[in-house]
């Protein structure tokens, strides 16, 4: 029983032996005088020479070489057992188990890796737009408002400017409709509607307050310095074209992207609602997301 195992060991060692032999060969070649060139041809005889010269740890290779002799000397019983088992031997069994264990470990590792990858990707925002992030603005009451203040409730964020000819007023009227429909379904205080001005030069807190009062009393208006507004537009992936230096009283328009951004109570982006949504369709999207939310919602 021990002999096949030792032979397997020797197979492994033979690999080493080849290496030993190779290294010896190299050394030998280096030390060989020029006139002995004919002897170093890679003939079978030279290989044998190197093997014999190799250190003692490579000895089993010789016993491997003598294997056929031993197998020939097997008893009848041994041969019978071999025939009964067919190609299945305990080596094959070990190989099978090792391969199985190896594959299991590999698949477990791969599965864990894929899970981590999926989480990382989800957080990185591959496949879904990464919208939202840190910002600092001033609300229409003159208080500082940051992204942290957005948390706790669902928020509906809209970017616009008060001197907007037609689109913003239409959208803000729609926003008022959405606010009322969400209130009907989920009660007061679940949704925080936010209007962020893209035109900080003209839209001061007072201007925004007067403007929004005509649409819905719940909408909280925001403004800031040009840089602050630029920064918040950047994190919300909003394009806007407000010039950084405008003269007082200058008449101009601001080109900006038109979307409602729905953010969950943890401040993460949920969905963008475009102009093509009717009030009812938009309110349904918001209401469904609020119904899905398992966590806490600040209803104050």
């Amino acid at each position: 029983m021990a002999s096949p195992f030792s032979s397997a060991m020797c197979t492994a060692q033979q690999g080493m032996c080849k290496q030993c032999a190779a290294s010896i060969t190299r050394r030998t070649f280096a030390s060989l005088p020029q006139n002995l060139k004919s002897e170093i041809r890679p003939t079978p005889s030279s290989t044998t020479t190197f093997t014999k010269r190799s250190p003692s740890k490579c000895q089993p290779s010789r016993s491997f070489a003598s294997m056929p002799k031993r197998s020939a000397a097997r008893t009848v019983e041994e041969v019978k057992t071999k025939n009964k088992l067919g190609p299945f031997s305990w080596q094959a069994g070990i190989l099978f188990l090792l391969a199985g264990a190896g594959l299991t470990l590999y698949f477990r590792y791969e599965k864990a890796r894929m899970t981590r990858l999926r989480i990382a990707e989800a957080n990185k925002g591959i496949g879904k737009p990464l919208v939202g992030g840190p910002f600092t603005l001033t609300d229409m009451h003159g208080h500082t408002f940051t992204d942290a203040d957005l948390k706790g409730k669902y928020s509906l964020v809209y970017f616009g400017f008060t001197h907007c000819p037609d689109i913003c007023p239409e959208e803000l009227d729609k926003m008022a409709g959405m606010i009322d429909r969400v209130k009907e379904k989920h009660g007061k205080g679940v949704l925080r509607p936010v209007f962020i001005s893209c035109d900080p030069a003209r839209d001061t807190p007072e201007v925004i307050q007067r403007y929004l009062a005509e649409f819905h009393g719940d909408i909280l208006g925001m403004t800031g310095t040009w840089q602050e507004v630029k920064d918040v537009c950047k994190v919300y992936r909003v394009y806007f074209s407000t010039p950084p230096d405008v003269k007082p009283g200058q008449d101009y328009l601001v080109d900006h992207s038109i979307y409602f951004y729905l953010m969950d109570p943890e401040g993460d982006f949920v969905e963008a609602i475009g102009r093509n949504f009717t009030v009812d369709a938009a309110a349904k999207v918001i209401n469904d997301h609020i119904s899905d939310w398992k966590g806490k919602i600040d209803r104050s």
Binding site: F161, P165, D166, T204, P205, R210, Y252
Partner: protein, 112 residues
């Protein structure tokens, strides 16, 4: 007509707010501006003018009172914006008509 009770055709001046901003036109002012725009566009339709920026001379000649009124009730930037938007919308409608004639199917964009 005649909110400023003067014959000046200047655009409405922006009203400064106390905190350094400029007060935007309110709902009433917007409605007045939109009415002025619609009247002017009706006149343009009557005379077959689409682009009143390119065909400024013609529009000024044929729709003078409407244009004067439009410019009185709307800020300058709004006037230009609405004029350009009219052209853009016309082109959009033409494209849609063309596509429909070619048998294109409208896409469902609202989703839900």
């Amino acid at each position: 007509m005649g909110w400023f009770s003067s014959d000046k055709t200047e655009s409405p001046q922006m009203e400064p707010s106390k905190d350094g901003g400029y007060i935007a036109p309110d709902r009433t002012a917007r409605a007045q501006c939109w009415d002025g725009r619609d009247n002017f566009f009706k006149c343009l339709d009557k005379h077959g003018i689409i682009d009143s920026v390119k065909e400024d001379e013609k529009a000024k000649k044929l729709c003078a009172p409407e244009l004067k009124e439009f410019e009185k009730v709307c800020q300058g930037s709004w006037v230009t914006y609405f004029k350009k938007r009219r052209v853009m919308e016309y082109q959009r409608d033409q494209t849609i008509k063309k596509l429909n004639a070619e048998g294109a199917q409208p896409m469902q964009t609202t989703g839900r």
